[in-house]
Structure formats: structure tokens, C-alpha cells
Symmetry: D5
Subunit: 147 residues, 10 copies
């Protein structure tokens, strides 16, 4: 079972079980964003979590558990994303990229924020003028070194 | 004076005055990230802020203030960024884009996070295993409507 | 049922029922352009409209109704469209983009026209020298804010 | 004088004279959007209008008038625009392109909306929940013919 | 039946019937180039022509006739064509594009040659040094207008 | 003097002398389209024609004559042209490319129309419904051979 | 049978019959490079050669012979080839393109080497330091002409 | 002096001295194609050859000799060349690439023809039907090895 | 059996046999990196190694052995890789490419490191602050020659 | 002084002083590859190293030292490099990317080799059949984590 079939199997089970990402995150003791990224085939699950996700969704298929544990090859469609929700994030990187580079490197020195030793969270912030999406990214700072 | 010349003038003054983004943000009562984006020519400053930035940096040039107030045309180089710090943000959008879309739309319904009614913050999180960069994005949720 | 199969099912039923977009719009009390965008899989329908569309077309398939309600991932082929009708719209954006930016921002200040809080209409304007297509776009103005 | 120098000369004069696009349109009896497109070098002005624009802006330069009358070569940067205001229009073409094609061709038969025999208007629509931008495009329908 | 299946059906029938494009053009009273473009799925046929083409090729399939009448979405592979015959035409547009623009606009004023109100013909010109291909394009001139 | 400077020199002289392409073609006994392509730097002129063009335009500059005779490196901007007049020609190649390939190869066998042993003409065809542009391309047929 | 299926059929037969390109070239009295290009679907075979190839490979399938005779649409994957053997040829064109243009046009005048009236040969040149590949290209010179 | 200035200096001197590539090749005892590639900045000359080229062209500039000896960074414009002479070579690589791969690897085993340990020659072949360009490429075969 | 099917067959057998790349390398007396590249279809195996790999994995399929011996056409997805592990290698080439060119050519003269007469090794280097990946590339230096 | 001017200043001084990368590395106690990357503007130097490099090259310019210390924006030309030495490295990433991913992840688990906490070395390996280039890359392994 490859990551694409795994994804469809999990999404169908999630709909059947009426579990949202918060439920699924809680069931395995992990963040809902990370759990979603696993179910989208973009992260591998450690064995106990793979088992836990299968249990929570009522799926006892060994091939599915193997697929959850497999190390993914991460790819995406095209250089510029098209779906408006994803494009807005790309636009933020384009518009604010040099700003973020300068602010981060002023605070930390020459280096980068890791996208591997990294976590991310999404919250709903209530606001009478319209609720707001709050995305928090948290990555280890990695300094460039001389050698 | 166009945004590029404005940017170089501001960066040189900032170096001369030894003001970092926090200082400059404080001087005009705005977030350091937003102030940096203005100085990178990616946002326009309201008149009082434009004046305040010029004052803080000891620059009393009318053309500079006009440049700060001008509405920018926002562009960036290429579809795929190359600087490693900015690329990692692009990679996050590629790897986690569909995950974020699903998590946000599950929480809010069909719609997007605005990149216009939007703010962003960068913090340093101390950690004995290596300090961490924390980026917070906050954008209004905009629902798709039928008509 | 994914959005592509949904689209083919709806188009076939529409042909069988000899209903045009005006008829279908009227049947569910929505604009024909928006209804068409739903049937092309580019917008999601609220539950009652999804049901209404299925009824109007004589399709009582639950999977179809789910597909109508599903939040779409919006994508299109290529960066430059090729079909002449669609290319002409792209050309209008290329030729008049900076003009529209200037005229809108002069009228409203620094910001954009939303493509999410947005509606669109198409009319036929009779003209003895050849009838004319009139497209009206209507989007909320979103101002950039400082923070 | 090429179209780029012409553009900068006109924009500087417009700022000096504090004339907005409505003023300039009124001065020559044309739509502000079309006048702006001429000043952005994307359309040529007939001789009397070229003279009228120069007069209205207090510019009596023969080379400028020649530049206004010159037939432009229309080009733009990149296949996918980046400025958020212009990108949203591009996104509308991507998301609604096939919808518009179907709705227009159902109303008119096989053919296109001309982008040459074409006009466009921008209005501000007041709305207590936030004012709205209204863009109207009006192009002659051109049917495909057999031969 | 989509345009691709329609194309293969027609080409197979054409081979069986040993009809060339001249024969088929004559059978329906249209130019062989236009008839070929219909059979390649790049133009729609009016009902009587669609019927005529089906008759001429001995195909009495209603779905085929519907496919011939359907309004096509015109697309092609890639930005730069590769087949040498088609590339040479692309090269002509690249090499002579600005020349043609200048010559046409000198003769007609600012505007374009329509590719919609358009016809095209191919002839064989005998020449002792090697026969020559003569392609004639004929499109309505569309002037840009002020508004 | 390179081809770009040569082009600007020739265009300015042409304007001063009020000579159109027909006049210039007649002056040197060549087609106006070919003469224009030479002045746009896309073809080289034989020595006598180079001299004739310089004479006709009242330019007796040796460097200019050398530039006219120089063999050009033919390039153009981008894979997809943007100016509407040139784009329409590109669109014709895209839409009708496979049609032309089939019609030509049916008439001539496997091979191509040369773009080198090639000529082109532009005529104005009067028409009460709007005058028409007629472009004629004439290229030697080159058959593929076995070896 | 399309060119792809034809290719696989021929390659399988060639392996079964243990015939290399030299054998196959000899069998039909043609160059092994040209025969290989036919079997790769990049050239059409005259009827007698098509028959000869089928005979030599013990394939008496009429559809195969038709596929060998069919005029190919020549396309390839991507603008920059990736296989190292083919990339080296592309690199030669990139590195030596302007050099070849200058050397050829100095010898022949303004014009090109035809890729249609063209043949090619591959030889093995023994060399104690490592054998060498010798590729010979031979194309008719086509001069640009004035008209 | 960089390679671009070096190139222009050499080309001007070559024109002044009326030396063609054959003359220049003879003057330094090297192939005219290789000498041209050096003068186009695509290969470095050993010290004695650099001195010899300067002598032959009557240029005694130390900076020029250094530029001739400098190791070049080899780049070219775009992925797909546009000048027709160079494009035809690119087309040959596209059309015959897989054919050449198969013929070479059948003769030599798995490996490539080097583009570094490589030479190339251009000859004029007289032919009553039109003279022909003969290009010979000669590169060391490099086998892939296991390790 | 093509290289893709071969790859899947080998990977499944490897999982069944619980053999890692070191085991498989040892089994055939070759480097694990090279063996992996063969199993990924990017290198051909000599007959005895192909047999050895099949034996080691308990696969006695003649078609598989033929597939292992076949000379591959090496291609990859896209110009810029997306998987983070592979992208980091691409980034190293982008960031350090000109540095490596200068350091290598200073040491060796004008030329390149072969990617054909080439081997590569991966080692795990223990480090208390986090283990390190050590990749060693070893390629023959190929000097450019004059001719 | 920007990184480009800094680079040219350093290269000129290096030539004047006849210091190679080994000399310069030794002068500041760092690897020659890292020192070269600093001089190419792709890494920033800590203050003492910046001073040391300036001293070693006899350059006492404060602006130069600031430029050496500045945090670079790392970019490179194009997605696919063209210089043959750099292209071969790109080819290695394309051909062996998935192989390296598998071998590394088998040894270390799901994660990547850092290109930031990274060093690189180049050595000359003598070999009677032709000396060899040995490149060693050494990067910290970064495991993906769940959160």
C-alpha cells in the first residue's frame, strides 16, 4: 500500500468514524497538525503511533500500518501552488521572506530555522469582526559554522 | 526615490544609528516585523509612521517619506526561493500545505486565511538543546460565499 | 465520488434535462455563474443547495450530494491558459493589471479586491454591431494594515 | 521618449498637479481606466487625446505627445503575476475560467469575448460591512466561423 | 464521446474510406483546412456539417455527431512546439513577430488580426527547384478603441 | 554598431523621412515585409541592398551599413509572446499546428515547410464588415529522406 | 498500432532475433542510425523498407507495417535532457552553438544546416587510451534569401 | 578583462586583420573550431596559444592574454536555443537522442561519449544540389563502472 | 520487465529477506551505494552481479535478471528536487558550485570531475552532539584539451 | 560594498599576492573550501577571520571587512546549472538522489543530512590512470520528529 492509497483509506475511515483531527490527535497523544500530516503521507509515524491511528480508526490492516511507518518521499505539485488557501501561504513567503530573514538573523546570527526539527500548530482565535486563523511555526535555529 | 533606493537608504541609516528592528518598532509603536517589511519596501507606511521612521533614523528627506508612504508593487525573484532560510519556509508550505488546508477548513469551513488582513511575529525561544525560532501568523478567516 | 466524476455526472444530467445555467440558478435561488462554478467543482455547495441541485437534475445519489458539499482543492492547467476565451481574460489581467491596481488603490487606499468574498455575473448586451459580453466582478476591498 | 519614460513623466506631473484618474478622464472626455492604461503605456492615444492629456498635466513636450500616440508593444512580467492585487485577478481567471467559458458559450454560441473591442470600468460600492470593488468588463462577442 | 475519441474514430474512418481532406472538404462544402481542424477537435461543426461529415465517412453514430458539434476547449502541448513542421511555424512567429506587428499596424492603425474571425488555406505551389507550401491566413482587423 | 542600435537609427530616420515600409521596399526593389525584418535586425542585407537602404533613408554611415550586412543571431523574448497581435499568431500555431501538419503532409509526404527558404507577404483586404489582414507564407517543402 | 507500441514490438523482436543495428541496416540497405531512428518512431519508412524491416525481424503484421510507414509527430521529454549520454550532446550544443554558427556562416554565408535534408553516422574509433565515439552530421546548407 | 570584453576585442581585431577562422587556426597550429570556441570565451587557451593568438591579431595586451588563459564558466541563454542554426542542432539532439544512445551503447556498452575529452570539426562538402555542412564530433567513450 | 517493475520487485524481496544495503553489497562484493543505485534502476549490473543479486534475494526470474542488466535511461522528476533530503544536496550544489569549481580547477587545471568514472560512499560518523552523515564522491578528473 | 564587489576585490588581490586557496585557508586556520565560499560571497566570516583574510591579502579596507562579515543572501543562476563542472554535481544529485535517500535513511531513520551544520572538503587523489577528485561532504543528521 503506497502513501496515496493509505491517505484515501484513512480519510474514508475518518469520515465513517466522524473523527476530526483533534479527536485523532488526542487518540494518539500527538498534535492534530502532525497527525494530519502523517495521514496526508508527508510524515512517517513511529510504530506505536501507527498502531494507535489504525486502532482509533478501526482499521486493523497490517499493510496500512506499514504504509504509516514508511519514510515518505515528500513532493508537491508545481513551483507555485494554486489552491487559494495554500497560495496565500506561498504569498506570505514571497512578500515577507526577506523581512523574516533579516529579523531572524538579527536575533540569532547567520543561520536558518530548521524545517525538520520543526513543529506547527493551528488555532482559531475568536474575533467579533471575524474569527482569525493563528498558525505557529516552531523550528530549531541552525547556525552556519566555519570549518 | 523608489522602494529600492529607499531600502538602501534606510538600511545604511539603521547601521549608522545602530538601531535594530526592535528599537525601530518601539520608536514608532509598531511590530518589528511589520516595520522591517516597510523598510524592505513590501508595505506602505501611514503618514505619521513614515515621519516617525524618518525621525528615528535621523533622515529628514521628503522624498524618503514619500517613498515610505507609496503603495508598493510586491514582487519577488523566481517561483522557488533559493536562500536557505527562505527556502525552508517555502518547503513548509509545500510539505504542509494540504495538511494546513484540511485542518483550517475543518475548524472554520470552506475558506482561506487572509494574507492581507494579516500580521506576523517572530520570537526567540530559549532551549538548552539549541534556541528555537517561533513564527506566528495571524490572518482573518475569509469564508467562500454563494451568490 | 471526486469532483471530476461529479462534474461529468452533472453535465450529462443537465444535457438530459435540457436545463441551462439560468434554469439551474433559478431552481436553487442562486446566480447561474456561481452554480456553474459549483458544477465545475470550483466551489462547495451548502447542504440545501447541494440537495436542490440534485433534485433539479433528477439525481438522488448521496455520493453526488457529498461531492457537491466537499471543499474543493482549486487547481488549473498551466500558468498561461490556452483556450482562446480564457486566454483573453488572462491577457486582460496582463495588459490592465497595473492600471487596475492604480485605479483601485487611488479609490480605496493600499489593499486588494478579495477573490474570496467575491461574486461575478455574466450578461448579454445587445448591440446592432454585434452583441457584447458583460462580466461584472464584485469583491470586498481588503486594506493592508499595520500591526 | 519610450513608453517607460513617458509613464514616469506623466506620473510625476499627475502628482504635481494633484489630478487623480477621474480628473484626468474628465479632462479628455474618456474613462479613467482607459486614460490610466494609456499613461501606463498599454494603449495608444488618438492625437487629440494625447494633446489633451499633455495640456491637462501642463506638459507641452512634443516627444511626450509622440510617445502617447505610439502603438505600444504590450508585455508584462512573468506568467504568474505576484503583486497580491493583480494575483487575485489571475486567480479569478484560473478558478472561474472554465465556468465563464461555459456560461458565455451557452449564451452566445462557440466564440470568445474580445479583449480588443473591449472596455472596462471600476467602481466603489459602499457597503456597511466594508466597501466593495466592482469591475465591469465589456467585450464584443466574436463567433468562430466555418470557412 | 470526447474530442480525442472522436478524432481517432474519424481518422480511422477516413483511412478506411480513403478520403483525403480535399474530398472531405468537398463533401460538406467547406475548406479542407477547416474540416481537418474540426476532425482534430479544434473547431465545432454546425449541425448540418456534423451530419454531413458523419455521412461522408459512413458513420451514423449520434454520440459522434454530438462530439463534432461540441464547443472545444482548445489546448496544446507545451509552450514551445517540438515537431519540426510545427516548430518552423513557431519560429516564423518568433523571428517575424515584431516585423508583422509593425507592417500590419502601419497599414491598419493600432489593433490586431483576429484569430477567431479567421480562415486559413494551404496550397501546393509547383516549382522546378522543389515544390513550395503556401499558407494563407486571413483575419479581420480589430482596432483598439478608446472608451 | 549592433543590431539594436541599427534598428533605432533606422526607425528614427524612417520617421524623419516619412517613408513607410512600402516606400522603403520599393526603394530597394524588395518586399516591404523582408525590408522591415532587415530593419528589425532579423535578416542580413546583401551589400547593395544595405547601401540602398542607407541611401533611401539619407544615412551614409559605414558602421550602419556593416550592421545591416551582419548575419544576425535571431532571438526573441520568452516562449509565449505577450503582445496581442503576436500572441494571436502564436495561438494560430497552437490551435492549427496539428491540422497544418496533417494537411501539408497529406499533400506533400513526410517533411516540413522551410522557414529559411521562405518568404512572407501582408496585404489589406477591403471588406464592408471590416477590412481584413491577409498574411501569405511561402516556404520550400523539404522532404525527410532515408540514408 | 501507434509508434510506441511499434517501438516495443520491434525492440522485442530484435532481441529475439539477436540482430543489432548494423544487421538491421544491412538487411534493408540503409544506415544503422537511420534504421534505429525509424524503430524509435522518429522517422517514417518508405513502404519497401517497412516491409523489409518486418521481414528481417520475422514480423508479418500489417498494422506494424502501417505504423512504420506513418509520418511521426516528433516530440521529446523536457527542454533539457537528463540521461547523461543525451545531456552531453545538449551540452555540446550549448557550449559550441555560437562557435558553430560563426564557423559555418563564415564558410557558407548567412543560413543554416538543415536538420531535415540531413544524415548522421556513428563510428567506433579505436584508441589505446580508450576508444572514441565519432558522430558525423551531414546537412544541406540552406541560405537565407531576400524576397 | 572578462571573457565578454575579450570576445569583442578579438572579433574586432579579426575583422581589421581580415583573418578568418582557418587563418587563425593555422597561425597557432590548432583546429579553427577550437580556436573559435576560445575566442567565444568557451575554452581556455594554454599560455603559448594565448600569446600566439594575440600575436596573430596584432594585440599585445597582457590583460587580453590573461583573459584567453582564464578558465571559463560556460553558460548559455535559455534551455531551448532560438537562433535557427543553433536550434536545428538542438532539434537533432531531441529527435535523435534516444537513437544515438542506443546505437552508441550497442557498440560500446553502458556509458557515454565525453563532451570534455572531445573535439569537433566543420567541413564544407560540395554538392551540385547544394553544398552540405559536415560536422564531426569525436569524444572518448567513458564506461559506467561498478564499485 | 522495465526498471520500475524491477525496482518494486527488488524492494519487496529485500523487505521479505530483511536484507539491508550493506548485506546486499556484501553478497555481491560491491559497495552498498552502487548496489542501491542498480536496484533503483539508475545503473546496469554486469551479468554475474545481476545473477548474484537475484540469488541473494531469492528471485530466480530471468526477466528480472535481464532488467538488472539493461542499460538505463536516467531521468528524474523536475529541475529542482522537492524531497528535503535530496533538496539539501541540490542546495549544496547551488551554494557551493562556483566554490568547488574554483578549488578543483586550481588544484587540477581547466577540466571537470567525471560523474561517469565515478564512485560514491555513505558513512555514519558518530558524534555526541548528533551523528553525522559523511558522503564521499570520487570521480576521475577530465582535463579540457585543445585540438 | 556588496558581496559581488567584495568577490572581485578579493580575487584580484589573491592573484596579485599569488595565494592559492590552501595558502589562504592556512593563513586564517580554516579549510580552503570554506574560505573560498566566503570569498565567493556564499558564507559570512566571523570578525577575526574577516580581519585575517584582509590582512593575508594586504587589504585594509573597512568596507571590505564589513562585506566579509555580512550575512549573505544565497542565490544562484537558474534551476539547472550549465557549467560542465557544476552540472556534473547536479547530475549526481539527480541520478543518485533517491539512492542516497534510501541508504542514509536506512542507516539513520527518517530525516535528512543538514546543509547548514555542514562541511565539505576537496582532495586530489593520485592515480596512474588519471588523478581523481575526491569530495567529502559532512552534515549533521537531523531526524524528523513527531509533536
Amino acid at each position: 500500500m503506497d502513501k496515496i492509497e493509505m491517505h484515501h483509506t484513512l480519510m474514508a475511515a475518518r469520515a465513517r468514524q466522524k473523527m476530526n483531527w483533534d479527536d485523532l490527535g488526542e487518540a494518539v497523544g500527538r498534535s492534530p497538525v502532525w497527525v494530519a500530516s502523517v495521514c496526508y503521507g508527508m510524515n512517517s509515524a513511529p510504530p506505536d503511533i501507527a498502531q494507535g491511528l489504525a486502532n482509533a480508526l478501526g482499521l486493523e490492516d497490517e499493510a496500512l500500518i506499514e504504509a504509516l511507518k514508511a519514510y515518505p518521499t515528500k513532493t508537491w505539485d508545481g513551483a507555485v501552488p494554486q489552491d487559494p488557501l495554500i497560495y496565500r501561504l506561498y504569498e506570505v513567503v514571497g512578500v515577507y521572506g526577506p523581512t523574516l530573514k533579516d529579523v531572524i538573523q538579527e536575533k540569532f546570527g547567520d543561520g536558518i530555522m530548521s524545517a525538520i526539527d520543526f513543529s506547527m500548530d493551528v488555532e482559531r482565535e475568536e474575533d467579533p469582526r471575524g474569527d482569525r486563523v493563528k498558525i505557529t511555526m516552531n523550528g530549531k535555529f541552525l547556525p552556519y559554522k566555519s570549518w
